[in-house]
Amino acid sequence: MTLLNRLLKSREALLSVAGTALLGLIALRAPGFVAPGNLASVFTDTAILIILAIGQTAVILTRSIDLSVAANLALTGMAGAMLNAAHPEIPVPLLVLASAAMGMALGAVNGLLVWKVGLPSIVVTLGTLTIFRGSAFVLSGGEWVNTFQMSPAYLALPRETLLGLPMLAWLAVAVIGLAALGFARSPVGRALYAVGGNPVAAVYAGIDAGRTVFRAFCVSGLLAGLCGYLWVSRFAVAYVDIAAGFELDVIAACVIGGVSISGGVGSVAGAVLGALFLGVIKNALPVVGVSPFWQMSISGAIIIAAVLLNTRAERRKGRIILRHRATTGQEAGA
């Protein structure tokens, strides 16, 4: 009973129901859309958004925000592509690791500015957003890295299939799994919730709030770096403006997934569902005969609706001090 209650109250469950209903509606007009094969390709198409949303969730949980993820992605993607073009002999896995490490370093810059200098994260990442993307321009001189310049192995990795799913999808699955474990089971993961939920209490509990925020930015940067590689190899081209404005899609996915902008509330499952929700809409619109140009306004409306629902749910009731009501309230709740 309490389990059922909690399930009914959980945002993730609500979102799953809404998502299923959405799929049902789409299936009415285009049954082919819900075929497993197509759903798998929707998942693959959304993989990068999912990974970035998970990184962003870590940051938002600590009451911060990372606007620089898409620029981080563009810079690391460009760097990886150029390195590959210049030195095709470097093994691909090493390049992938290098991209992730570089992304993490960029994330660490954000984190240090927030932690050590005490700047608001929105200002810091607004600044690094332009710096990172500008650096991608400086690095490339504004040139594109085209398909033929990159090694076939570099481009092939995300596309290789395993058990019917491309590596891109498997990578997303791996990130989801690791993040779910890390958020729920690691001391660092739990500290994210503690710091965002009640920073004062976190200090009393001996948790270093600043260091925790720093770590969240590192995670976000690491995943952005990974996505830099994935984006470039998936679209087989690298240029300065890749994923421009994508940071807002990432935040939107988190918000739809019930990650509270005021910190401490949210989950990996929610972020994944939020990203998938956006992915399904993006992929379904052409199928059901709606111009894809409407996609943006629809996701905008969904973001507002999601925030509205989440904010309503979060709103606290007043402190109850009248005894008789307090006790009856408790009994009703038990």
């Binding site: 608001p120 200002v123 600044g127 650096s135 321009f137 306004s297 973001i303 709103r315």
Partner: protein, 368 residues
């Protein structure tokens, strides 16, 4: 005001403050409530206005602007031409107009990410109106009203439904620009009525463009509102401490609503100018402007946490960004390099005072 007699510290003030309360005198001269402390006059200010000005953020920005100006004039022989300088203004006035209004929103402790979306939607609806053959005043009216309406939507979401402004306006950003995409798709509106070009391309007098004239007028208005009126004071108080502001009887929600509406209207104005200047509308118009405009406001010394900031600061920040873009343009340096410089400035100008304070604290601690 009257000087107070040292022996009656309470009386004069009370008679002034309570003059409507007739017939309530102090109950007698022999009843001294507490030993009268020696009267000390508290000065109104300790810093002379000039000293305060020299230490300010604005002085720093002015210095920066002057440096860039000088560097530009050395770097390029074309820079000091009055027409070139006039041209230089076009790349920042539209953003700066929105920044003036957004400064108030940020001062009040909120944010609006949707401004560029509003510009796109407003431009699209103007294009549609023009395509329907409406005359110029109607087209402009539609542009301005769209802006105002979008701003009101933001205001309602934030004050009526109490959504956090950052996520609410990320949502409306998608919504507004999405509507522009939905209406236009990959098409474009390119036909505008006669006379419409004036707003983005016209000159009021010689080299003084209409855009700059409007911007200067609005900057004066914004500066006056923020620094001289009770509205400005209220906005500042709300930004510092919304609870204390509400406890002081200020209408926090109503004020915030109108700040969002005004920002929408400013985006409408910017949209009229931009559309007129470009002579065409695509849904991608003004993409990415929201972050540039926020950068302008923050660079201008407006604290993202609310309460702190000035209009001269925002105007100077716009000037710095504009001069930098133009100067680098003259040197054939890409605009994106400029964005790096702006990004670095944004972080540096905020981080440096913090770091300096930390450093001086540490020095003080080590030398007892």
């Amino acid at each position: 005001m009257t000087m107070l007699t040292p022996n009656a510290p309470f009386s004069t003030g009370q008679n002034r403050a309570g003059q409507d309360r007739a017939g309530q005198n102090r109950s007698g001269p022999d009843r001294a409530p507490s030993p009268t402390p020696p009267m000390r006059r508290i000065p109104d200010r300790t810093d002379a206005p000039l000293t305060a000005l020299l230490k300010s953020w604005e002085a720093l920005l002015l210095l920066l602007a002057a440096a860039i100006f000088t560097a530009n004039s050395f770097a390029s022989p074309y820079f000091l031409d009055v027409w070139n300088l006039s041209d230089a203004t076009f790349n920042f006035t539209e953003k700066a107009i929105v920044a003036l209004a957004l400064a108030f929103v940020i001062l009040a402790g909120e944010i609006d990410i949707s401004v560029a979306g509003i510009i796109a939607l407003s431009s699209t609806l103007m294009g549609a109106t023009a395509a329907a053959g409406q005359p110029m005043p109607v087209v402009v009216g539609v542009g301005l009203l769209t802006g105002l309406a979008c701003g009101a939507v933001n205001g309602l979401l934030v004050t009526g439904l109490e959504l956090p402004s950052i996520v609410a306006t990320i949502g409306t950003m998608s919504l507004f620009r999405g509507l522009a995409y939905g209406i236009l798709g990959d098409g474009a509106y390119t036909r505008y009525p006669e006379g419409f070009a004036y707003f983005g391309q016209g000159y009021v007098w010689e080299w003084l463009s209409f855009e700059v004239t409007v911007f200067l007028g609005l900057a004066l208005l914004a500066g006056f509102l923020l620094h001289r009126t009770s509205l400005g004071r209220a906005v500042r108080a709300i930004g510092h401490n919304p609870t204390a502001a509400a406890f002081s009887g200020l209408k926090v929600r109503r004020i915030k609503f109108w700040l969002f509406a005004a920002t929408g209207l400013a985006a409408g104005v910017a949209s009229v100018m931009l559309t007129s200047r470009l002579g065409s509308t695509r849904p991608s118009i003004a993409t990415g402007w929201e972050l540039e405009i926020v950068t302008m406001v923050v660079l201008g010394g407006v604290a993202i946490t609310g309460g702190v900031g000035t209009i001269p600061g925002v105007v100077l920040a716009a000037l710095v960004m504009g001069l930098l873009t133009f100067g680098l343009g003259l040197l054939n340096v890409s605009g994106i390099i400029m964005s790096i410089v702006v990004g670095v400035m944004l972080i540096a100008v905020i981080a440096l005072p913090v770091l300096a304070r930390k450093l001086s604290n540490r020095m003080r601690r080590t030398t007892p």
